[in-house]
C-alpha cells in the first residue's frame, strides 16, 4: 500500500494482514558532479519500490522515501527510524537503499542494499525488463523473511 489517505484507511482496518513496512533511504548529493548520479539512484529506487508495492500491495506499506544529505549520521538516522517504527504494529521492516554507507550500520536489520542502475537513458521496454529482473532478486528476500518469522 502507498502512504496516502485512501490506502491508510484500508491499512487501519487490515492491520493484521499488512505487517511489513518498506522504507526507501535516499542520499541527496547536490554537488555539481554528484547530482546526476544521485538523481539516477533516486529514480531507480523509487521505480523499484513502486513495482515491489504492486506485487505485494496487500502485505506491505511503502513509506515515502527518507532523503538525507551526505553529512547525515547514518547510525543516528537509523536509530530514529527504528524507534519510530518500533511503536507501530509492523512485524517486519525493510530498508531499501542504494547508499553503500548503510552497509556499515550494524544495528539496523533487513537493510537491502542494491547497486543503482542508471535506468534514465533506457527505452521503456528495456527499462521494464531490467526493473523486473531487479524485482526478482528482491522478492525472495521478502518471502524468506515472512516464512521464517511468521
Amino acid at each position: 500500500m502507498h502512504f496516502n489517505s485512501k490506502d491508510i484507511d484500508l491499512y487501519a482496518s487490515q492491520k493484521d494482514y499488512v505487517d511489513t513496512a518498506v522504507v526507501p533511504l535516499i542520499e541527496l548529493d547536490l554537488t555539481a558532479s554528484g547530482m546526476k548520479a544521485s538523481a539516477g539512484a533516486s529514480e531507480y529506487l523509487q521505480s523499484l519500490t513502486v513495482i515491489l508495492e504492486k506485487q505485494f500491495k496487500g502485505r506491505i506499506l511503502l513509506l515515502p522515501p527518507i532523503s538525507y544529505v551526505r553529512a547525515t549520521d547514518r547510525t543516528e538516522l537509523g536509530d530514529q527510524l527504528k524507534k519510530e517504527l518500533s511503536e507501530t504494529g509492523f512485524k517486519h521492516i525493510f530498508y531499501l537503499t542504494t547508499d553503500a554507507k548503510w552497509r556499515s550500520v550494524e544495528d539496523l536489520d533487513n537493510v537491502l542494499w542494491l547497486p543503482a542502475i542508471p535506468t534514465g537513458d533506457m527505452d521503456q521496454s528495456f527499462k521494464k525488463s531490467v526493473m523486473e529482473d531487479q524485482l526478482r532478486q528482491v522478492l525472495p528476500l521478502f518471502t524468506k523473511e515472512w516464512t521464517h518469522h511468521s
Binding site: L10, Y17, Q55, F56, K57, G58, R59, Q124, K128, L139
Partner: protein, 167 residues
C-alpha cells in the same frame, strides 16, 4: 395574373420567417448534437489495448501478458502497465486479472510449488483455480476478475475488466 400577386407585406413576412428559421436551426443543431452525442460515440475496437502476444501461441497454460495504456490522474498523465493471465479454453481466449481479491497483491500461476495448477498470492497464501474461483479456506473472498479479450490481427487485445463470468 393579379390573383397571385405577392404583396410587399407578404414578401417581407416570408423572408423574415425563412431567415429566422435558418438562425433558429443554426442554434438548435449543436444543442441537439450535444444531447445525442453519447449515442454517436464509437465503442468497438477503441476500448481494446493491443498487446504483443501472438494469439496463436496461447495454450491452455495461462501466460502473463502485459499491456500499457495512458492514465490521467488530475493533470498528471502516466503510462501504466498492467498484466493479465491469458489462456485458451477450447478456442476461446480467457484473460484473468492478476489482482488478488483479498488486498490487491499480484497473483502468479503456479507460484506455490505444491499447487502448480493454481494461481497463488504470495502475500497471504491465497489460492485460486484456473478459472479464477477462490479456494475456500484461503483469505480471498471472491473469484479473480476477468478482462474482455479478443484477437485482433493475430494478436491478443485486452479490454475492460468485469466480474468473473466463468465461475
Amino acid at each position: 395574373m393579379s390573383n397571385n400577386r405577392v404583396s410587399r407585406r407578404q414578401f417581407l413576412g416570408y423572408t423574415l420567417t425563412g431567415v429566422g428559421g435558418f438562425m433558429a436551426a443554426g442554434m438548435l443543431m449543436p444543442m441537439v448534437r450535444f444531447a445525442v452525442d453519447p449515442i454517436l460515440q464509437q465503442h468497438d475496437a477503441g476500448d481494446y489495448v493491443l498487446t504483443d502476444q501472438a494469439a496463436a501461441d496461447i495454450t491452455e497454460e495461462p501466460v502473463r501478458v502485459d499491456f500499457t495504456f495512458e492514465q490521467v490522474d488530475a493533470w498528471y498523465t502516466s503510462e501504466v502497465t498492467n498484466s493479465a493471465w491469458v489462456y485458451k479454453e477450447g478456442d476461446k481466449l480467457i484473460a484473468l486479472s492478476p489482482v488478488c481479491k483479498h488486498l490487491g497483491c499480484t497473483v502468479n500461476w503456479g507460484g506455490d510449488p505444491e499447487q502448480p495448477t493454481q494461481f497463488f498470492c504470495p502475500c497471504h497464501a491465497g489460492r485460486y483455480e484456473k478459472n479464477g474461483q477462490n479456494i475456500p479456506g484461503t483469505p480471498p473472498l471472491g473469484p479473480l476478475d476477468e478482462y474482455d479479450v479478443q484477437e485482433q490481427d493475430g494478436f491478443v487485445a485486452i479490454g475492460q475488466v468485469k466480474p468473473n463470468t466463468l465461475v
